[in-house]
Amino acid sequence: MEYTWDFKVILDSFPLLLRGLVVTIELWILAFAIGLSLGFAVSLARVSSRGWLNGPAIGYVELFRNTPVLVQLIWFYYAFPIVLGAQLSPFTAAALSLTLNTSAYCAEIFRGGIVSIARGQWEGAKAIGMTRAMTMRRVILPQVLKRMLPAFTNRGIELAKVTSLASLLAVNELMYQGRLLSSTYYRPLEILTVVALVYFVLIYPGSYLSARLERRLAARD
């Protein structure tokens, strides 16, 4: 292959890529933190025996899990403002759709964890006068969180990758900056390779920790 690498381009574009990385991380943390909390709330509705809570929760989860993330992103940017009557910034639209999408997946992880705890645990707590909320907080969640950690780490990793789709809404995150720079310098090979490497460096520690954690938890049980 006749190709002369131009490493200076990488140095020149690094500040912009870093700025993109910061936006990526912001998007990631925001969507993950809120997605987790919201997902927990949805999972509580999902395991409720009341139909008016349970039904909508199922609809919500299935809607987000069975449509492409990209469609959701674009819908929240172009279609949702019409419903809302106000324009959303690209970042807000991206953060909103990624948060809701993440919450749907997290709700399923929480739900799976909660129902995996034997009914007897609920009964044991009930029999000493604990309320459902107490039981959830003191008995169910402490056991469930440990079991669910690997699943949540995977979700976090997946989300970090999916944030790159926000570039299509012109959110100036890492992928967006990469595409912009590579067309400015006509150097896609150098720049996009660096972009991929930056994502790798960002995500790999999480994957590594997750795999280790999974092994440790498996060994303990």
């Binding site: 645990q121 009930k126 029999a127 000493i128 006068g129 309320t131 459902r132 402490p142 056991q143």
Partner: protein
């Protein structure tokens, strides 16, 4: 305080189309020890589980210390079930403790923490007081040297004794035992029965659903034989277990070859 702790009137329990408990009346006097016996599926465990609302009665009333529980209500299926608030049920459950066949301990807590849990979260007992009360109850069931062990490391008999200590820690007025030895290996049954027997000596009000007829004979002031969801025959242990009057009681008892009484 009246002499009667629990009064059940016309208790019914349905699971969908399945009518399991079909109108049970029962009075439990303070300090009384009642053994509930009957074939599998007769509804005896369900009756017990209605007493502390592990199962919600489909119909009928339950009085605790002379106070009628719940308020008049109408169930979705058109039945006349009463409605109960969560706070009322939680309060009742601290007064009517239960020990399960499967122990139902919290596996992520040590033995001591299991027994302290209700004191701390439900009774809001200060931690130190809860610890000493829990330790006391565990000593009573002979587990003072297992305070910091996890339930998974204990034998079934030990786990069941922890469960008894956990129920006792709440200082209930009535203790319900739902086949407490049915899931134990035969050699572990004795240690649990000895603990239950010791509690009986203390004069506690207890209801025990069991298949251990020999134990029931020595334990109970009164034996209640349940068949098809109703109280079929009741009387002293001697009356019911040795001189049953009714045909089905006789047939049931005849199936137990090892009548150790």
């Amino acid at each position: 305080m009246s002499d009667t702790v629990i009064r059940i009137r016309n208790l019914h329990k349905r699971f969908g189309d399945l009518h399991v408990v079909k109108g049970v009346d029962l009075e439990v006097k303070r300090g009384e020890r009642i053994a509930i016996i009957g074939a599998s599926g007769s509804g005896k465990s369900t009756i017990l589980r209605c007493l502390n609302f592990m199962e919600m009665p489909s119909d009928g009333t339950i009085e605790l210390d002379g106070k009628m529980l719940g308020t008049e209500g109408r169930a979705n299926d058109g039945g006349a079930a009463r409605t109960y608030s969560e706070s009322e049920l939680c309060e009742v459950r601290t007064r009517v403790g239960m020990v399960f066949q499967q122990f139902n301990l919290f596996p992520h807590m040590t033995v001591l923490e299991n027994v302290m849990e209700g004191l701390i979260t439900v009774k809001r007992t200060p931690k130190e007081a809860a610890r000493s009360r829990a330790t006391e109850q565990l000593a009573k069931v002979g587990l003072q040297d297992k305070l910091h062990a996890y339930p998974g490391k204990l034998s079934g008999g030990q786990q069941q004794r922890v469960a008894i200590a956990r129920a006792l820690a709440m200082d209930p007025e009535v203790l319900l035992f739902d086949e407490p030895t049915s899931s134990l290996d035969p050699e572990l049954v004795g240690e649990v029965l000895r603990v239950i027997h010791a509690l009986a000596e203390e004069g506690r009000t207890m209801l025990l659903v069991t298949h251990e007829l020999g134990f029931a004979y020595h334990f109970a002031d009164r034996v209640v034989f349940i068949a098809d969801g109703i109280v079929y025959e009741t009387g002293t242990a001697d009356d019911v277990l040795k001189h049953p009057q009714k045909e089905r009681t006789q047939a049931f008892l005849a199936r137990f070859t090892e009548r150790a009484f």
